[in-house]
Symmetry: C2
Subunit: 333 residues, 2 copies
DNA sequence: CGCACGAATGTATACGATTGCAGACCAATG
DNA sequence: CATTGGTCTGCAATCGTATACATTCGTGCG
């Protein structure tokens, strides 16, 4: 159906070899032939067959991206960043949603492995063994997870968390709650560590509210637990939970920021839309996606394999964005 | 690097043809050989090369999905639906973000055309000509847009819009504003038509507030324009705008739903999270994505090309979801 | 016992593009 | 004029898989 290089060559009156070179190495082709091939290609609407190209070159020009849940507002920006760099590298992205299941991730990597040059694994919840299997099947770059020996990109709690805590301290807060994420999450413990350190430094009591599921329900439950403490401010594992928490607090007649200050994590698009605007630690999602693709593509080009991140995890700095959900106490709860 | 069918065949002591058949037509292969091939494949970790397969079969097993903006909360659910059906059909999805630009869509379709068996175009803003070009390059299914002769899936304002209007009428509202989307948008005019019809029927004054950009800024401006009318309720082009509108109204001291009732469109995930929960017309995004992929895949399988939607646009019913943003007036503005 | 037939397997070719190699052609040089 | 060198072009092999066709083998029946 579609025109092939053979058709173009025939129409231009040259061999397929010349036609091919007209695109790949125009300098190797005579001006006359070049012109004729180009015109012929235009006329028949020639589009190179990527499958044939991939077969001979060994590179498919396609990378997979696996996310646990597309509807989680964290990921679209990651994808956009990835997409932008993919486009820049002349490469395509195969999207896969694991539907929150580690087993799903695993099987997705298996099927993707045969069709892509590498996979970006976002916020993977696979266990170590599955991760190793994945790495043996195809090139892997982790986003939002670190594993020694594997290439990855993650958000460094510093300087965002320290800045947030100092901000709260300046606002007069001395008792800070932390509504955490899943106990198994590395990023949760990294954030905890950063919090502990800076709280000790500036002299704030850090109150552990516990571990919660990273969704709306977790945020609601976090609010309930939080009210059992005497914290005047709270840092929440992510924005989604923070918003749910604020909503739940409102149900208890506790309003933000008059009665309580709230800091989120991520800076999802909605964080600034709501009233009150959510103070949060901005995670460079776009850059994370972009860098992940860069690393993956670079790893596939041996000549400049020494570009950096090979097998290493790169931390991208976070930034505290103060908005209306943090303030000096208007009244004691 | 990776094991090929040849390796498997050698290890199993059979020819590549037999090895191939062991996977494609197991019934044509002796039990003994079948077993040996399977074991050999397992041992070397054989993964079929999709490029080679695509080359010979002519089908790539990959479909493209083009969205104008991934960060628009409308699309993730569409993608999830598409993804789910793609997985069901044993097919992959190539994701592309057009970054809000019709020209971007156009060039994406061009590049995708050579790598996929078809493209799902979501909420495309391409002009007619570009659309025709796209259709000439590859199989196209439209989502959220209709064009005679092209396969497509869209959200039918009925019964969602009539239900919403009747609900408002029952709440005592008699003057309803409509904050519309882009003037060029077909879905905007479809919604207008549905609104007019049901308003006439139940006896409500429909006040046209104008056309706005479908983002946060459009919603804010919509709020400002709305206050120039004496509407007591408003239907907004989409949830994102509705939320921004509510936020902006709050800035004017107008609160929802006490002073004004608001109905959105889409039912994006955040619509229910906020206080007040947004009353909205729920669009079956997931089903739209799913159906789009089904249609695309079906169109590629000639034997059952008569399955239905070929060249036709299919409307999926919407549903009104009442929440807290619609109520009887507590006080007159 | 021989023939025919079906099952199982192997051989060879095709898919479309790329590329090493060699040939054709021309100009410049000795 | 022969030789060299360079430019341009074509031939043919190749990537990994699928399949039409040919071949082999065993089996059942006449």
């Amino acid at each position: 159906m579609a025109a092939t290089l053979k058709d173009v060559a025939a129409r231009a009156g040259v061999s397929v070899a010349t036609a091919s070179r007209a695109f790949q190495r125009p300098d190797m082709v005579g001006a006359r032939s070049l012109e004729r091939v180009r015109r012929a290609a235009d006329e028949v609407g020639y589009i190179p067959n990527s499958a044939a190209r991939a077969l001979i070159s060994g590179r498919r020009g396609v990378y997979g991206v696996v996310v646990p849940d597309l509807e989680n507002p964290f990921f679209p920006a990651v994808l956009k960043g990835a997409q932008a760099r993919a486009h820049h590298h002349g490469v395509q992205l195969l999207l896969a949603d694991a539907e929150e299941s580690p087993e799903g991730e695993r099987s997705l990597v298996r099927t993707l492995a045969g069709q892509v040059d590498g996979v970006v694994l976002c916020s993977s919840r696979m266990d170590e063994e599955a991760l190793l299997e994945a790495a043996s099947l195809t090139r892997i770059t982790l986003v939002n997870r670190v594993r020694p020996g594997m290439t990855g990109v993650f958000a460094d709690p510093v300087p965002g968390i320290p800045a947030a805590v100092r901000h709260l301290h300046r606002m007069g807060h001395r008792r800070l709650g932390y509504v955490g994420g899943p106990a198994t999450s590395r990023s949760d413990s990294a954030r905890r560590t950063a919090l502990e350190e800076v709280c000790r430094e500036v002299g704030i009591d850090l109150l552990d509210v516990g571990h919660f599921e990273p969704g709306v329900e977790g945020g609601r439950r976090g609010a309930e637990e939080l009210l059992l403490t005497d914290a005047t401010a709270v840092v929440v594992y992510n924005d989604l939970m923070a918003l749910a928490l604020i909503d739940r607090l409102k149900g208890f007649g506790v309003s933000v920021p008059e009665d309580l200050s709230v800091v989120g994590w991520d800076d999802i698009p909605f964080a600034s839309l709501l009233t009150p605007g959510l103070s949060t630690v901005q995670v460079p999602r776009y850059d994370m996606g972009a860098l992940a693709v860069d690393l993956l593509v670079a790893a596939g080009e041996p000549e400049r394999e020494d570009e950096g991140g090979e097998g290493r995890a790169i931390g991208l700095p976070t930034q505290f964005v103060p908005r209306a959900s943090t303030a000096r106490l208007a009244r004691e709860v």
